[in-house]
């Protein structure tokens, strides 16, 4: 099939993986390096088909470690770059994700989550990498992770991920899941002019003045590309503003907390969530990804029984919407957190609630979505 143009304006019937690929293309991604893994393979296949016709580069690397490395290199070569994977590949990518964080390299990593651990359930859903998304690589750094709950959001949030990557000069995660990735739904792609894109914040300073790791007021340094005579040095070692290795506690203190702080301090601008029925809620269901769609039904069923239930859907899982959850915890009886894992984001809810409201986890070990009745039962219990 031959398509023209990076932005396929119009109405489509496509699955989440394809929509994520199209979102990347619409965002100006011109480099994809990946490795096949169920259920993310379709992202790579779509990029393999579309990128060369648009003058972009697709390369299938020998493993996920190489894929993550290659997209970092491509970013320093001046392109917007992306990779896509699932659990086992996500684990492999962790070291280079840390390199991307430490070197403040803008790029996007899509994880279409599946059941784990280890090889687990390649073709079945999980939401078991949420904490790994936050803490997966060693060391301290901030994380931005977006959770689509529909193919439309796979398109929209991948664009958002690229924009956030450029704004905060860091890798950004899109934490999709197997059901959303393989679900086929209507996706509306707007005209290119209607899509708001953040360009790379390339420095306008001369090479002698530019410091690749000197932050601006928003705690983010300007970016540059290789080959423009800036003669930069980029290293994973703790480094100073010039990028030179500076392996001392003093420099660590000056430079490394900023990697966490640049997300934390800007969280107000980054955090996104979708909520409904919070005004008089006694119970709030906190959910994300495919589970949010099941939870939606459970919430409707509960309301039908007269329970005052609200729905709080995380769009950014990281940074976690702490102020909103803290505020809610002061006026609700309890939170219900259904997730397709044995408890991950629930701990964030619990932490923010700080004992002011009860927190009920509705776990699922993976391989399928919740029965709405189990979520309903938890809502009823939380309301007692």
């Amino acid at each position: 099939m031959s398509e023209s143009g990076a932005v396929l304006t119009g109405e489509h019937f496509m699955n989440g993986d394809i929509a994520a690929a199209e979102g990347a293309l619409a965002a100006g991604c011109t480099f994809f390096a990946g490795y096949p893994i169920t259920p993310a393979t379709e992202v790579a296949e779509r990029m393999a088909e579309r990128l060369p016709e648009l003058g972009g580069i697709y390369i299938q690397m020998e493993d996920e470690i190489a894929s993550m490395g290659a997209i970092l290199g491509a970013a320093w070569g001046g392109r917007k770059s992306m990779t896509a994977t699932s659990g086992p590949g996500f684990s492999l990518m962790m070291e280079n994700l840390g390199l991307g964080m430490m070197t403040e390299t803008p790029c996007v990593l899509v994880n279409v989550q599946r059941g784990g651990p280890s090889t687990g359930l390649p073709t079945l859903v999980g939401q078991q990498d949420m904490m790994q998304a936050r803490w997966g690589s060693h060391g301290d750094y901030g994380v931005i992770a977006l959770c689509p709950n529909s193919p439309q959001e796979c398109f929209d949030l991948t664009i958002e991920a690229f924009n956030l990557a450029e704004t905060y000069r860091m890798p950004v995660l899109v934490m999709s899941d197997e059901v959303i990735g393989h679900m086929t739904e209507k996706v509306v792609i707007p005209a290119a002019e209607r899509i708001q894109l953040t360009p790379r914040r390339h420095t306008t300073l001369a090479p002698a003045e530019y410091r690749p790791f000197a932050p601006g007021a928003d705690l983010v340094p300007e970016m540059v590309a290789a080959g423009r005579n800036y003669r930069i040095h980029v290293t994973g070692l703790t480094h100073d503003e010039r990028g030179y290795p500076a392996v001392t506690a003093a420099v660590q203190e000056r430079m490394v907390p900023r990697l966490t702080e640049k997300v934390r301090a800007n969280a107000g601008r980054i955090v996104r969530f979708a909520a409904g029925g919070l005004e008089d809620a006694q119970v709030v269901v906190v959910c994300y990804g495919i589970t949010s769609r099941v939870a939606q039904l459970a919430v409707e069923m509960a309301r039908g029984q007269g329970l005052k239930v609200g729905l709080f859907r995380l769009i950014t899982a990281w940074p976690f919407p702490e102020p909103a959850l803290r505020e809610l915890s002061g006026r609700v009886r309890g939170f219900v957190v259904p997730e397709i894992n044995l408890g991950q984001m629930v701990y964030e809810v619990e932490r923010c609630a700080a004992g002011r409201a009860k927190t009920l986890l509705v776990p699922h070990p993976g391989g399928g979505v919740h029965d709405p009745e189990t979520i309903l039962a938890a809502i009823e219990e939380a309301a007692r």
Binding site: A33, I57, L99, A225, R231, Y244
Partner: protein, 304 residues
């Protein structure tokens, strides 16, 4: 002068013939500068490498290769991994990237494909490129990606204190082979050539000019080009095997290298303190990864 004064950083008085006179002017006299300082991050010298380590010599040849390559300096991008040789990226005043252990080649691949105008040179050590990075090495060679890889082989993991590497010769002693290495080492030129590299050469740190010429050829070569440089590790490899210092290893190279251009790479393995075959082993023309990709796309668009 007593010990305390000496320790406080004072030089010996001018009359003492044992110590060099106080510094007159920076970098030689009358504004003279070492010719290679232009391409070095002088504010980071002295470098971390030991006395009689061969890495500095190889960097010296490399700088000359860049200057004589005829290619604008700003087009170069140096990518290295982790290890003593991995520190090269930090000292050369070009766009340079010090990446994760073993992963310089995939990073370099992405960098090159994103901007094929760049001259991407991976400069890293044997442990980084052939052990943890081995998979990436063979795939980049297989794809014939148009990058240059300079592998400095000192037969050991230097930075971490002298452990065995996949290039350590049989019977050599290292901290993890206290009874002598029992593994077969890689014959690196053979490995890389068999994967499809366009250019494979091996020299030692002693062969400064031939090494430079090989680097120039490798950089100019279209396709995956690989230069292995055998270099002395004094503090660990030489010392632990009672071979003296790097100086003695350089003398060993002098007396035991055989230049055999076009040698069959299957025959260039290196035994412990045995002859080292050096030379240019492979120099062929074949389409690069990008060439083939473009060829396919052109064929596709012609079919319409």
């Amino acid at each position: 002068m007593n010990k305390q004064e000496r320790a406080a950083g004072e030089s010996a008085p001018a009359g003492n013939p044992a110590v060099a006179p106080p510094d007159a002017a920076p970098e030689g006299t009358a504004g003279r500068q070492h010719p290679k300082d232009r391409l070095l991050r002088g504010d980071r010298l002295p470098h971390i490498w030991c006395p009689t380590c061969g890495i500095g010599t190889c960097v010296s040849s490399f700088i000359e290769a860049i200057e004589e390559s005829g290619i604008a300096e700003e087009r170069f991008a140096i990518v290295s991994g982790i290890g003593c040789t991995g520190r090269v990226a930090g000292y050369v005043k070009l766009d340079s990237f010090h990446t994760t252990h073993g992963r310089a080649i995939p990073f370099a691949t992405g960098l090159h494909l994103a901007n094929p105008e760049l001259k991407v040179v991976v400069f890293s050590g044997d442990g980084d490129l052939v052990a943890i990075g081995g998979n990436h090495l063979i795939h980049a060679a297989r794809r014939n990606v148009d990058i240059t890889v300079i592998c400095l082989n000192n037969f050991i993991y230097g930075m971490t204190g002298g452990q065995a590497a996949p290039t350590t010769p049989f019977s050599a002693r290292t901290t993890t082979t206290p009874y002598g290495n029992s593994e077969y080492p890689f014959n690196v030129p053979h490995l890389v050539a068999s994967c499809g590299a366009s250019y494979v050469a091996r020299w030692t740190a002693l062969h400064v000019r031939r090494m430079k010429r090989a680097m120039i050829e490798a950089i100019a070569k279209r396709g995956f080009s690989f230069v292995e440089v055998i270099a002395p590790c004094s503090t660990l490899y030489a010392r632990k095997n009672r071979l003296g210092t790097g100086f003695d290893l350089m003398k060993f190279y002098h007396d035991n290298c055989e230049i055999r251009h076009g040698a069959n790479t299957a025959e260039v393995d290196i035994g412990f303190q045995e002859r080292i075959v050096v030379g240019k082993f492979v120099d062929i023309e074949k389409p690069t990864f990008l060439d083939r990709m473009q060829e396919n796309m052109q064929r596709h668009t012609r079919k319409g």
